[in-house]
Structure formats: C-alpha cells, structure tokens
Symmetry: C2
Subunit: 329 residues, 2 copies
C-alpha cells in the first residue's frame, strides 16, 4: 500500500508538496502537480482515510442507526435521510444496532467515527446517547426523549395517531377494541396506546386489560397475539395493531381460521408500509411521514453542526388512511 511518502519520493518532491498537489491546493506549480499525480497513478496510491480524518478531526459523514437495516418500514426514512445528506456534501452510513452495546452502532456513537447521528433503535440505551452527544456531535433521536443539550427529539404524533385509529372504529360502531402492542419499553408504542385509551374514554367505553396483547412490532408477534385472541373464543369488534407488520400477521391468522376481515372483525394498523395497500383487504391505517422524518432529522443535524439554535423537540403529523379493513357496524 503506497503512502504519500512513496508518492513524494517517486515524484522527487517533499511530502507536503505532494499533499498540496493531491488535494488541489493552489500552492504548487502545475508542472509539479503533474509529476505528483503521475507518480500517484503509477503507484496506485490511495489516501488513507483514517489518517486524514484523524488529522482533520472531522469525517464529513453522518450515521443512521437502525435496529434493523432490513425491514420495510425503514426504506422511506432512509431515502429522506439520504437525499439531504448527500445534497449537503456529506456521506451517509447506515448501521445496525443488533448486538446492542457491542454493536457497530454503539461503536460509531461512542468512538465518534462520524460527525452526527440519527438513531431509531430501541436497543441502544439512552445512556450511550447521552454520553456521546456533544457540541460537535449532535444526535437526533426518533424513538425516545433524551434530556441533553445536544440531542434533539423528533417524533411522529403517535398519541394522535392512536387516538384517530381507535375513534374511527368507535365512530363506526365498534365497542370492544383490542390493542396489540409493540414492545413495552417503546415510547412510540406507549403514546399510541395512550391515544387509544383516551379515545375509549371519550366514547364512554371502559378499557379492559384482557384486550391488550403484546406483539412486539413483528409480523410473527401479531400473528401469535391474534391466535391467542382467537383461541379465547370471544372476539372483539375490532383490533388496533400498533403497527402494520403486526396487522399483517393478524390478517394471516384470521385467514387461516376463515375469519373474514372486515365482515367478521375489523382491523386497523399503524405506519402505512407499502405492502399495506396490497393485502386483501387493503389495510386501513395511520400513515407516518417517514420520508419527512428522515429529512427533518438530517436538517437538524446540519443546523446543529452550523452552530444554529434549534428547537429541542419536533412533532410530525400523522395521516389517517382509510381503506377497507374496517366495516360499518
């Protein structure tokens, strides 16, 4: 691996000259530049990114930290992040937090291998976020609140979304509505649940804890939760799944038992992932502005990096997407 020294030697100049030439700094004669470039070419020289980052103390890249790089939900978010990152001349790396404290994600956070980060990954602890954020290393969290001057919190209005979902069913005449929940430690889930409960209260239906099941935000979890609901014999009028993936799992469970949606039971989801409009019946759901969330997050990072004052909290509106999985009772 050729270094800048080799290049300098081969070109017969000093390293500094080589450096200037290589970085296009207007300080060397074009003849010298020529020589250096030629030498670099011949040696197949590639600069070592670490060394230069180390020196510059800046990486020009921001990290997007997700609990799962795969998964349909993140696609649009990533696009939003990516678009504005590259248009600002920064690089974007996405990394997964699987592995928790010893994941790539944690390392990026702790060892500051990037200039800023966006996190949407419940298995990253708030502690590391707090310990990592600094003036020159702002973090935007999408899935929790963190009390620190250098972390900003942007979230979708989960409460309202949950409220909308439940009240829609209520308005349609449903009285008993089950809630299939995400992970209990999820802030998003919590808010959706609160909205749901408030809607029940406002419509004078009393909340029954037997109708709260846990589905962990996964398709499999939704499937299992639905199975247990079915096994209990006494089905509610409708089910509010705290995300679409779980609703899809539920749909499958119903199909297997020949229970028709929405004729026999209504369901509603949350997120509006792409597939939701394709399933049978098309899923009524609450759309999250995923692209917007992503682009907002990066914008905030750039503002922080530029030293501008920004709000600490942002709330994005949800949309109600009416399709065909809820019937008129």
């Amino acid at each position: 691996m050729a270094t800048i020294k080799d290049v300098a030697k081969k070109a017969g100049v000093a390293v500094s000259t080589a450096s200037y030439a290589l970085n296009g700094i207007n300080k060397v004669s074009s003849a010298t530049v020529e020589k250096v470039l030629k030498a670099a070419q011949e040696l197949n020289y590639q600069k070592n990114g670490f060394a230069s980052d180390l020196k510059r103390a800046k990486t020009n890249t921001i990290a997007l930290i997700l609990s799962d790089l795969s998964g349909p939900y993140f696609s649009e978010l990533i696009k939003g992040v990516q678009d504005v990152t590259v248009s600002n001349g920064f690089d974007l790396v996405a990394c997964s937090s699987v592995g928790g404290p010893k994941s790539t994600a944690t390392k990026f956070l702790k060892e500051k291998r990037v200039d800023g980060a966006i996190v949407l990954a419940n298995n990253i602890t708030t502690d590391v976020i707090k310990a990592s954020a600094r003036k020159d290393f702002p973090i935007v969290v999408l899935d929790r609140k963190v009390d620190s001057p250098y972390v900003i919190h942007a979230e979708v209005n989960n409460y309202k979304g949950g409220y909308d979902a439940a009240s829609y069913m209520l308005e349609k005449g449903h009285r008993s509505i089950a809630y299939v929940s995400g992970p209990l430690d999820s802030h998003d889930n919590e808010e959706r649940f609160k909205g749901y409960r408030q809607a029940l209260t406002d419509f004078d239906v009393t909340y029954q804890s037997r109708w709260k099941l846990t589905g962990n935000f996964t398709r499999e979890g939704g499937y299992r939760a639905t199975k247990t609901l079915i096994a209990q014999q006494n089905l509610p009028d409708g089910i509010f799944y705290a995300n679409d993936e779980m609703a899809l799992g539920g749909l499958q469970a119903f199909q297997e038992k020949n229970i028709r949606v929405p004729e026999d039971i209504s369901i509603i989801g949350f997120d509006d992932i792409q597939i939701s409009s394709y399933v049978q019946p098309p899923l009524t759901t609450i759309r999250q502005p995923k692209y917007e969330a992503g682009s907002l997050a990066v914008h905030l990072i750039f503002q922080m990096l530029a030293g501008e004052e920004v709000e600490k909290t942002y709330k994005l509106a949800t949309d109600f997407i009416e399709r065909q999985s809820v019937k008129n009772k």
Copy 2:
C-alpha cells in the same frame, strides 16, 4: 474531548499503562486498572476510533455497498450479510452509491475505511473496484464479473432463471412473449435476457426485437414500458419482466386499462420480493436466494481475509415460484 493522555495523567500512570488498562490487556494490576477506569469515567473519555484504526491498520468492519439503501429487494440480502458479519465479531456498515464516483461508497472503497466490501451497485465502476481490491481488502461483487485476484464474483444463475421463466410460458402455450428489460449495462439483466432468448429458440419461436422494451428495473419503468406495449394495440401473449418491481408497475398499467391478468395477458417476474405474493393476482416469478447470497458473500470475505484459497466464481440456483399470473392457453 479527553484523550488517553489526559486519562493517564489523571490516573498518574503512563499512557501505555492506560492503554493496556482500557483495552483489558492482562498486564496491569487490578488496582491500576481501577484507577485508570475511574479517571476515564470522570473525564468522560471516549477513545478515538480513527487513531486506533490507524495504528492497528485494521477496522474490523466490512461494508455493504448498494445502489439504493431503500428498496424492497435489499432487505433480505442485508439480513444475510448482517447475520454472519456480527457473528464473526465484525461490524457492518451499509452505504449507498448514489452520487457515483463521489459517493460515500466510492470513498469507502478507495480510502479503505473497511476491511472488506460487498458490492451490488451498478453505478460503481469496475475500475474503482479493481483499483481498490487487494490482498487485505477483498471485495465480493454480486452484480458483475471483475477480473482481479482479490475480487470474487457471486451471482445468481440469471441465465437459468430467464430460461425457466420464458419456457414456462412457452409450455403453457404462449407464443409471443415480450421482455421488459433492466438497464442495458446490467450483467444480471443481460443473462436473464440470454436465457429468455434461448428458451424461445428451443421452442422454435423467433425472437422479435419489437418485443423488447426497457424498464430500468424500476416500478415506474415497468409501468411506462407496459403503457407503450398497450399503446401498440397488439399485445403479446405474455410478458417476462426482468424483475418484480417492473412487473408490479406493469400490473398497475393493466389495471388502469381494465386489461385482466392473467385472463387477457400473462406476466411473470424475477426476484420474488415480498410484495409479489400479495398483489392481485399473486405474481409468478423466479426467486433469488437473497439471504443466501448475502451470507455467502461475507463468508467469502472472511475466508479471503484469513488467507484461504477460494473459488473466484459462485453461482446460486434460482427457484421457480408458480403463482397465478400466467394462464394456461
């Protein structure tokens, strides 16, 4: 930002001792370790990842380079890569190649910010790949052939997949079969097309160039290609879309014109992305073993890194997935 020097000073030891203590190297007394850790804690010390990578000349991370981090196709691939990467104690970063030569991806490749890379991104030039790969920086390419001792080529048997798709329609009595192609410079696309042509030949139907359209592997492209096909009035018996996304676009075009699939025209896709089984009608397609491709790719990288001899080329089998978008003529 505290450095290891500060920690050492505060703990009253030499930097090397601090380094040993911090890295858990069994060389210092537990009392000293204690002291150092405490000092680090108090100074909120975080090690600088660059500096240590620079020194070690090793990053323990591998990069996955994709043309588009979003997009349904990549989900499973990523999972495969991720699973084996983390189980080997390495980190994984995904980066996008949007921006081409000046993308994050190119920088990772050229400046060797990682120990190995997997690329599936047609906008990264083969030149860059060739120039970057070295003994201690193996690259696995999933979408082309590269002639270099340090790059390995793993691909799905696109030829056979294309052949299977076309001959299936042929067997079902279809005579005229259009081909909606991906980007012309795509190796995968080329192979699929060759398979398709061979099938035509084997079934004694002559290839007609008017039935080759370009759809660019995008939903939008498939939609437009299908529109032009419809506009030509004379529809073929069936269409082979070189990927599922385009087939989905085609499906939409047909729906808009009230042309029924498969009654009026048969279609078949390639990839078997998740959504394909949910659309109406469920899409007959060729499945690519995406998870396997991903995990194979990383395995190969680790083998190369370990200095083992490996084959230069791997071919993964496709599966034929029969659903309901092709009729019996």
